[in-house]
Symmetry: D2
Subunit: 287 residues, 4 copies
Amino acid sequence: MGGLNMDNKTEQESYKLVSREYQRQDTQIAIKENIIDSNQFHVIAGPCAVESKEQILETAWAVKEAGATFLRGGAFKPRSSPYSFQGLGEEGLKYLAEAREETGLPVVTEVMDVRDVELVAFYADIIQVGARNMQNFFLLKEISQLGKPVILKRGQCATLKEWLMAAEYLLYGGNPNVILCERGIRTFENYTRNTLDLSAVPALKDLTHLPVFVDPSHGTGKRELVAPMAKAAMAAGADGLIIEVHPNPEKACSDGRQSLNPKDFALLMQDLRRLAQVMAREMVQKE
Amino acid sequence: MGGLNMDNKTEQESYKLVSREYQRQDTQIAIKENIIDSNQFHVIAGPCAVESKEQILETAWAVKEAGATFLRGGAFKPRSSPYSFQGLGEEGLKYLAEAREETGLPVVTEVMDVRDVELVAFYADIIQVGARNMQNFFLLKEISQLGKPVILKRGQCATLKEWLMAAEYLLYGGNPNVILCERGIRTFENYTRNTLDLSAVPALKDLTHLPVFVDPSHGTGKRELVAPMAKAAMAAGADGLIIEVHPNPEKACSDGRQSLNPKDFALLMQDLRRLAQVMAREMVQKE
Amino acid sequence: MGGLNMDNKTEQESYKLVSREYQRQDTQIAIKENIIDSNQFHVIAGPCAVESKEQILETAWAVKEAGATFLRGGAFKPRSSPYSFQGLGEEGLKYLAEAREETGLPVVTEVMDVRDVELVAFYADIIQVGARNMQNFFLLKEISQLGKPVILKRGQCATLKEWLMAAEYLLYGGNPNVILCERGIRTFENYTRNTLDLSAVPALKDLTHLPVFVDPSHGTGKRELVAPMAKAAMAAGADGLIIEVHPNPEKACSDGRQSLNPKDFALLMQDLRRLAQVMAREMVQKE
Amino acid sequence: MGGLNMDNKTEQESYKLVSREYQRQDTQIAIKENIIDSNQFHVIAGPCAVESKEQILETAWAVKEAGATFLRGGAFKPRSSPYSFQGLGEEGLKYLAEAREETGLPVVTEVMDVRDVELVAFYADIIQVGARNMQNFFLLKEISQLGKPVILKRGQCATLKEWLMAAEYLLYGGNPNVILCERGIRTFENYTRNTLDLSAVPALKDLTHLPVFVDPSHGTGKRELVAPMAKAAMAAGADGLIIEVHPNPEKACSDGRQSLNPKDFALLMQDLRRLAQVMAREMVQKE
């Protein structure tokens, strides 16, 4: 697979390689001993931003013990205002790699700048494309050259069709290892940070063969809503979750309001394991 | 409870009686032998519109057998265009009462016109206020005079706060038996008819003591998304569901596209019963 | 005209009588010596709510002197919260009639309850249907029985098509004297109270023969944005405006934040008269 | 000006240098003999995409004759689908430069990739940052290093505050020559491609000293709505417009549906000149 034999490259506003018609069986993505598909259920956990070596190591051990199979953390964090914390950069990537070395958890981290694609790919096991870059087509083209798995977050005001066309850029460029991640859309409702569109999960399962994850942390922006929405995501048929966990959410450099502490994360993981049995999903526990 | 001892009636833009601060314990609503609260889980099922005596009876028996505990059906159906089917009116109410007589299922039906409140209340066990009337304050005031349980659907572009203020009209007028029902909000995404905002469920559980139901049929507008979103609603903590079931969805006078047939509904009910065990919810099966 | 010879009453989701195809020439509505059409430009002004005889009289004289041709004021004001000011009711209607008696300005006021339609029609020269009632089909049917002109505001999340179908209810019921009024839609942007969709004006001019007004007061919710958006509405091709004016906005019972004082309103009217010359619009000044 | 003396760089979620409090007088941007400010009114016109030397030259002469003072055209056009026309790249930039050479019109063109910033800056008189890149902070940082004027389009679901924070990145990095351009936001209404938020114009005039332009072509997506919304934008207080003009809209490689032909553009320019007199705006006509 991979966009080699396209026969209608000029077709406007469409996708092909990502569609369920093009490939009936679910895409399987192997990352070390983990298989991302519709049998296993994976939880990616960690802080929004890597803040220090101690913080990322402490979090890594905690989420591993609770049952997470991947570690997440942001090294590049340019945010809405130029006066906000902008991330540790390559230093952050190195801390992530150390945490992987120690805990064995593969690492998920975001790339935002085309010039950093090689650098991030060197350290990451899964490259994340954030919501703001879902239609950064130059970045998608660059990433599509790598075989490395990509998690493509939905843009804040992207339709399902636009999202699938963005994924098409990755497959068309040669990279079939794409995971979609619903993370909330912008609506008039401002009680929550975004409106988590869980109906996107079964809709995407009809439209595409790609795995679908959900990020209830960004999707709600409120810690107390993360656990119920994580369970709802699994019940809706999601293949995995991305959850923000911070050893001390009140002191987080960014997004503390939506981060779980390790204890609440561990309780959620217990609930998810019980739910997984009903949903016929396997949740691997690392040793 | 019930709006008798209000001390700040002049306060602008607020709610009081519906809030969790005002009443910590969950509201319990007894309808015949059914208790709507946070222990039991109830499914209200039936067609969008009552079309004939045969149609409503057939549906009533089918949904009862599958495990629904309430029958729904619309008698007054004025819709977006004056040229669409407008409902059977009082004749439809009589058919619903006959179906209740035969099956024992209590009946849920909508009132839209203040002049019909007494008539609908005579036939219905639960009065439904639809999304378009959530802020029809004259209708709310009229219904608040009755003790009869009310299911108040969320307006298509209502914030949680506006919804709670609308519920406040009912409690303030003297009717504490109010059930809230999330049914999707209007957003830019048009793959689904509405965007089902499941995060409203745990959010409302924090904000109010009233029971919270979910309508995945209107919330998605697509039959194939109803079952996954029904399960997700239960996992998110909902107290019940409203689901459109029609003996022959392709021939329905309205909303056939989002109705389940009796067989698919029965399969969904099986899944819900298994999920209920994990969620510590009781689902009563009528004999 | 008037819905007498409909040949496809069963057609779903459509409108006919309001369409430009059905009637090419613009609808003209005569109210006393005023003609609402695409030649004249009318400004309806007054407070959100009638608060007292003095308040409405003072406002009526002030807006007349500035050049308004209609007086507006709300008598029934049930609002989001039951604890907010709910209006003076029939007393308010009487004060409006007195103000008309004294100033000669015809009166625009809202009806919300089907049971009040006759009462409001007795006092009003133009009946207003508010945004929340745009799809209150029983109210529309009742009003359609009267020949009295109606101003139909756009629902907060109504598409142009839904709005036109709501207007169709009025024409189909026999009332051709319908004015549409854009008043802002609900979007993610919360700097303004609503997002005034001025593109609706030229779009409606293509789709329908009905006059189109704009309400920049509700449309923005901010006094300082009213004048620029009023001018923009005229430049976009609107046939008139509804503007909130209060003798003392800081003390208004409702919506003071978006009301102009008489002095600023008079300045705006001067600007509009100059703009009207460029736009080939006639603005009648009453003596 | 330019971010040199920031005293609270750590402040979260805020802007400073772009605010009206920080600088009361309007920013003036000089580009050759043109001054962009609140006295003059400038129209930037041209095709969505540069398609050939002939096409851009023909358009340049036509829009100049009609009174446009800047020529626009896209050289890099990666779009929603990888199967759509992706632009001519540097060749397109050269054609733009030739058109400037011949007509004297300064050139506006978009940069999307950080690696192209120097290249685009070499050819362009004004660099455009498109809606999808409004929060591409690495691109903003790169552009902020140049003194070259920038036109920063509003993101499709960006609030005014987020937009101003994005502009703050440019000023903070040292580039004060920033023009904001409203181009429509994404809402539930799909009759238009986007909902043009003209209230953003007077709102921004209160909040910031930067010039504000409007793009009614992308803002509506429909040719027939461009002229009324262009006039409305001027009446709302905009400092200029960006309008898509194509010699043969039906054959355009992209966005033909929203492009004016040269004749309709010339008629619009006449209307704008008459309106400019009422709005006390100067429209310079090049020889």
